[in-house]
């Protein structure tokens, strides 16, 4: 069973790998810190790449609500919560 911490670590590793962030270890990304602009400083190209990678890795799908997407992509913590929610939902409907 995946713990929230291990899921967060996996997402951090994915961010560093997919976005080719240099001089940064996954552990150094703060779980609650903002990913875009302040905080990690990701940009709009990163947002698309990260969305694709999350869909591929975790089988989740990004929704169509801009406000919700902004909340989901706020931090590693919110991304992890989103992945977990979708997985839980997926199992119920399967």
């Amino acid at each position: 069973v995946e713990t929230p911490e291990s899921l967060a670590s996996e997402i951090k590793a994915l961010i560093v790998e997919v976005l080719a962030l240099e001089d940064l270890e996954p552990d150094e990304i703060e779980t609650e810190a903002p990913l875009f602009v302040e905080g990690l400083g990701l940009d709009s190209i990163d947002a698309l790449e990260l969305a694709m990678a999350l869909e591929e890795r975790f089988g989740v799908s990004i929704g169509d609500d801009p406000d919700l997407n902004q909340r989901i992509f706020a931090s590693v913590q919110s991304l992890a919560a989103f992945v977990q929610d979708q997985r839980a939902g997926g199992r119920e409907s399967a």
């Binding site: 560093v16 997919v18 976005l19 080719a20 962030l21 240099e22 001089d23 940064l24 602009v37 400083g41 940009d43 709009s44 190209i45 947002a47 698309l48 790449e49 969305a51 694709m52 799908s61 990004i62 929704g63 169509d64 609500d65 801009p66 997407n69 902004q70």
Partner: protein, 587 residues
């Protein structure tokens, strides 16, 4: 079709839809009321300059048209970066912003939300075709980007031409879904001005993810999509377009080169490849093409004349909506762009690349010399060359830096990352986030060829070692002979500074040299070595940045004992360090 200048005075049904979206639908009656109310508020700024930036394309349209009503021009900041906004605010009379705007005035200028003007009457008039209406900024790179003014007629003539070309194809009822920002000419025309003039409803919201288009596609209403290559690639890869091919009237892509593979994928999904639009801020739309095989020639729009400039070999463009360059009879102008061109006898042309050092990142243009100059003004930077890299399939900027004394002090304190962070923060008020360098290399001297140019291929090679380069030496060659591994290594310039103990004389610390040996051991074992003891460590010669090193590691057959030597490949007797040790038994 109503000429854009007469939009608010021609008879149109009050209930005709103008815009739609999560913010709610708006019709012609709303548009007239909102423009009149805002125009009444803006009367004191007649003939002035108004900063305009909105996420909501309808609010933007109201701001633009109200500015036109009072004979003011809308100054469109290329981005919402605080630095860019502040600098521009000093040069305007008032600001029109929506969303998370600061409630208080910027730089002492009053600031309003275009849709929050108190209800008021104002007689609506046709716009003067020759009056300047907008001021855009070229390249979208710096806060100090060059302004380009457009008169009403420049916008009107171009969208009239587009409507004559595409009006029948799109039909009156198609809704316009557009992703580019209204702050640049492509978004301004395709998202707002053309739909307004043609009477097609446009989507209000600015979208971050192409998925956010889906609810509007799901409504199965006929639509046309205007977007840029990156979101289009994502839409094509996700295969969402195929299920909406019935309602798709056309797809437009501009702002950067579209890979032919993406064009083919879109064609397979909706039955026709996207219409690619080539143009620039100064010239507006120049040419169109649809790619299937790839590299199909560009076909100039009606009223556009394309030529090859004799002196530069670059594309010359003449049309009624070119707003800069030499004046031609009838209000047209001719401007020579920075793209090398090859004309074909059939009237089309092929683009052969940029003549200067301007690159496109996302849909933003970046003049590398402009950012280099900015970086050189930082006390940590002695010299710098920027190069376009490809990372995860997208263009990104890499920076190769030589450091000043202050820069070396930064590197010693916090390594390359500290330097990168300092310089990124230094650039960020003036450059869009996507343009900021993503990878940094610090070198002793910039690689230069015989003409004193910095060859892009050699610069790129500095980045090819990947993200681990900061901590590990570059491996140039490897050879194994029995129980011994020979690695030809090169010490990266930034590594030495990072670990160096003497500020004026950077050296690779002994502990780092041992790490090199551990890297060799890891290759021999096929796993990270677990060190039990180290003996007979000797550091003889100082190892400096840029130095080529031969690492020799021998491991006993039972994988318990090892020895290593780091030496100069040119003079094997010159040994930097050597030692031996024992490993823990694999558990």
């Amino acid at each position: 079709v109503i000429p854009f200048s007469r939009l608010l005075v021609e008879a149109r049904a009050d209930a005709d839809r103008v815009a739609f979206g999560r913010e709610g639908p708006r019709d012609v009656r709303d548009l007239r009321t909102d423009v009149a109310s805002l125009a009444a508020l803006l009367l004191p700024f007649q003939g002035g300059r108004l900063l305009l930036h909105c996420e909501d394309a309808y609010a933007f349209a109201v701001g633009l048209l109200a500015a036109g009503q009072v004979g003011a021009r809308a100054v469109l900041p290329p981005s919402r970066q605080p630095g860019a906004l502040r600098d521009l605010a000093r040069e305007v009379d008032a600001a029109l912003l929506d969303g998370e705007r600061e409630a208080e005035p910027i730089e002492g200028r009053p600031c309003w939300h275009p849709l929050e003007a108190p209800r008021a009457e104002h007689p609506l008039a046709a716009l003067d075709r020759d009056a300047p209406l907008v001021e855009l900024f070229t390249s979208g790179t710096t806060g100090a980007g060059r302004p380009v003014a457009k008169a009403v007629r420049h916008l009107e003539d171009e969208v009239t031409c587009l409507e004559e070309r595409f009006g029948v194809l799109l039909g009156r009822e198609a809704r316009i879904l557009a992703t580019p920002s209204t702050q640049h000419l492509y978004g301004l025309l395709f998202r707002v001005v053309w739909p307004l003039a043609a009477g097609r409803p446009f989507l209000r919201s600015s979208l971050l993810h192409p998925e956010e288009l889906l609810p509007w596609l799901e409504e199965r209403h006929p639509f046309a999509l205007a977007t840029t290559p990156i979101p289009l690639r994502h839409l094509a890869e996700k295969e969402v377009l195929a299920s909406h091919s019935e309602s798709c009237r056309g797809i437009f892509s501009s702002g950067g080169p579209l890979p032919a593979a993406v064009a083919r994928r879109v064609a397979a999904a909706v039955g026709a490849p996207p219409w690619e639009v080539y143009g620039s801020t100064e010239t507006g739309g120049v040419a169109l093409r649809q790619q299937i095989h790839g590299g199909e020639p560009w076909q100039p729009l009606a009223e556009v004349e394309a030529d090859r400039d004799e002196q530069t070999g670059c594309l010359g463009v003449t049309s009624p909506w070119v707003s800069e360059g030499e004046a031609r009879p009838g209000g047209a102008r001719r401007l020579v762009l920075g793209d090398l061109v090859d004309l074909d006898p059939a009237g089309g042309f092929a683009l052969l690349g940029r003549a200067d050092r301007v690159v496109k990142i996302g849909e933003k243009r970046l003049s590398l010399p402009v950012m280099e100059e900015r970086l050189r003004s930082h006390p940590a930077v002695d010299d710098v060359v920027l190069v376009a890299l490809e990372q995860a399939g997208e263009a990104r900027v890499g920076a190769v830096v030589t450091a000043t004394r202050a820069g070396r002090a930064l590197l010693e304190g916090g390594g390359r990352r500290a330097l990168a962070k300092t310089l990124t923060e230094y650039l960020s008020p003036d450059f869009d986030r996507v343009l900021l360098p993503r990878a940094w290399r610090v070198v002793e001297t910039l690689p230069r060829d015989s003409q004193d140019k910095t060859p892009a291929a050699r610069l790129r090679a500095l980045f090819s070692a990947g993200s681990a380069a900061a901590r590990l030496p570059e491996v140039l060659a490897r050879r194994r002979k029995g129980d011994t591994l020979f690695l030809s290594l090169r010490v990266p310039e930034d590594l030495a500074y990072l670990e160096g103990h003497f500020p004026s004389f950077p050296v690779v610390a002994g502990v780092v040299q041992v790490q090199f040996a551990m890297q060799g051991l890891a290759e021999l074992i096929g796993a990270p070595p677990r060190l039990s003891s180290l003996e007979a460590l000797k550091f003889r010669e100082l190892l400096g940045p840029g130095q080529a090193v031969q690492l020799q590691v021998r491991l006993d057959a039972d994988q318990s004992r090892f020895e290593f030597t780091l030496s100069d490949p040119e003079r094997p007797a010159r040994v930097f360090s050597s030692g031996r040790g024992t490993l823990e038994r694999p558990s």
